[in-house]
């Protein structure tokens, strides 16, 4: 019965591997950190953005829309900030161009949709995605700077102090 013993030994190894603690964790359970200059999904932080539109001018696809209004003190109020992720080719030129690093490379990988028009992100959507990102990453921006921890409003807007 040499055959039977061999099979039993093999199965024992299989069963051992089946019940032991896993040693490797992969995507849904664990996310690999991405290098800071990778070209992948974008996050936009409303509190860093001055509304200068440099990103929109740098974008080869023209998929960023910035609409601003001057405030009393001369700064800009960013009324609309929209990115069309249907068109975006994730080249990162906007992130490279932004003088305030308000748009950065990072973000989550779960942005899959059933309707392509859901990929058009407006300001509240981008803000809530940025808040989700910061919440999941210990309130550190993708470029390594610390962010001010803030209460997240359900509508995606930050609470102003």
């Amino acid at each position: 019965m040499a055959y039977g013993i061999g099979i039993a030994k093999g199965l024992l190894t299989t069963v051992k591997h089946l019940v032991r603690e896993p040693t490797t964790f992969e995507f849904p359970e664990a996310e690999r950190p991405i290098p800071p200059r990778a070209r992948t999904n974008l996050v936009w932080f409303v509190e860093r953005c001055t509304g200068c539109s440099t990103c929109a001018q740098a974008c080869p696809d023209g998929c960023i829309l910035v609409q601003t209004q001057p405030r009393e003190d001369g700064s800009y109020l960013v009324e609309r900030y929209e990115i069309d992720f249907r068109l975006c080719m994730y080249c990162g030129l906007c992130a490279e161009a932004c003088p305030y690093e308000a748009i950065q490379v990072g973000g989550s990988y779960t942005n899959v949709v059933r309707d392509p028009n859901d990929l058009y992100h407006d300001k509240p959507t981008l803000t809530s995605l940025a808040n989700e990102y910061l919440d999941a990453h210990d309130w550190i921006y993708p470029n390594g700077q610390p962010a001010v921890r803030q209460e997240i409003h359900p509508a995606g807007e930050r609470q102003h102090h």
């Binding site: 992969e26 849904p28 999904n41 990988y109 779960t110 942005n111 899959v112 059933r114 392509p116 990929l119």
Partner: protein
């Protein structure tokens, strides 16, 4: 993202008797309960063994291949068996730029796949044309030729994104069930706003939509279902056999 669901188990408890419930359960209701159970087992089997058709169109395909290797390991989701023949595939991952020249081939591969079949559009190019959306040579979205279940944005999407797309598709399959209505919109096969009249690619694409006329517009043989002898077609494809609907 939805949680990974557990494997459904058949409920082995017998249905409550008339004495237990105080009412008599109609026999068709019992049948419906059985169908629901069978449905959940079948959808579990289907979504756990999604075999993709093996083809890639552009740079996104490289990332699709990376998803299959050990670091990302699409085999964990039962979708590692990339089939070289569309007849054996359940899932079409459109990974890359769909040029007009390639569009009839993509449509034909989709038609050759056996039902039930699902489509993931991977990357900005196949979502809407991506960087080439305003170009003359690129189809503005693969949803113009095949119905798409899930869109994965990115250029290219990282393997993690494709895995998210696969997980979303599995959730969609769970939600739709075996006999449920498919929510994805079917393409209408109208290319009049994109290609000029008489364009050979437009004629070829329109021949691949219902009622599946030949490229010259003649109907199929009513008895055999065969396409008429079509010199146009044979000239375009070097005499190869047309791949009609599955």
């Amino acid at each position: 993202m939805a949680d990974r669901e557990t494997i459904p188990v058949l409920n082995v408890e017998p249905p409550p008797t008339a004495e237990e419930t105080g009412t008599d359960i109609e026999s068709d209701l019992r049948q419906q309960l059985l169908i629901t159970q069978v449905d959940s087992v079948l959808t579990w089997a289907r979504r756990s063994s999604l075999w993709p058709a093996m083809f890639g169109l552009a740079c996104c395909a490289i990332e699709m291949i990376a998803t299959a290797n050990a670091r990302y390991d699409i085999a964990r989701f039962g979708a590692e068996v990339f089939r070289a023949s569309p007849r054996q595939a359940d899932l079409m991952i459109v990974a890359g730029t769909v040029t007009w020249k390639m569009a009839p081939a993509v449509r034909r591969i989709y038609l050759q796949m056996a039902e039930p079949k699902w489509v993931i559009s991977m990357g900005s190019c196949s979502n809407i044309g991506g960087p080439f959306a305003h170009g003359y040579s690129t189809l503005p979205g693969v949803n113009n030729v095949v119905p798409v279940d899930v869109y994965v944005p990115g250029c290219p999407p990282r393997p993690e994104s494709l895995l998210s797309g696969l997980m979303l598709l599995q959730d969609v399959m769970k939600e739709e069930g075996v006999l449920g209505k498919r929510r994805r919109p079917e393409p209408d096969g109208d290319f009049s706003t994109m290609l000029p009249e008489g364009d050979p690619i437009r004629r070829e694409l329109e021949a691949l939509f219902p009622p599946y006329l030949s490229v010259s517009g003649e109907p199929r043989d009513t008895e055999t279902g065969a396409l008429p002898h079509d010199t146009n077609y044979l000239t375009m494809h070097g005499g190869s056999a047309p791949g009609g609907p599955a």
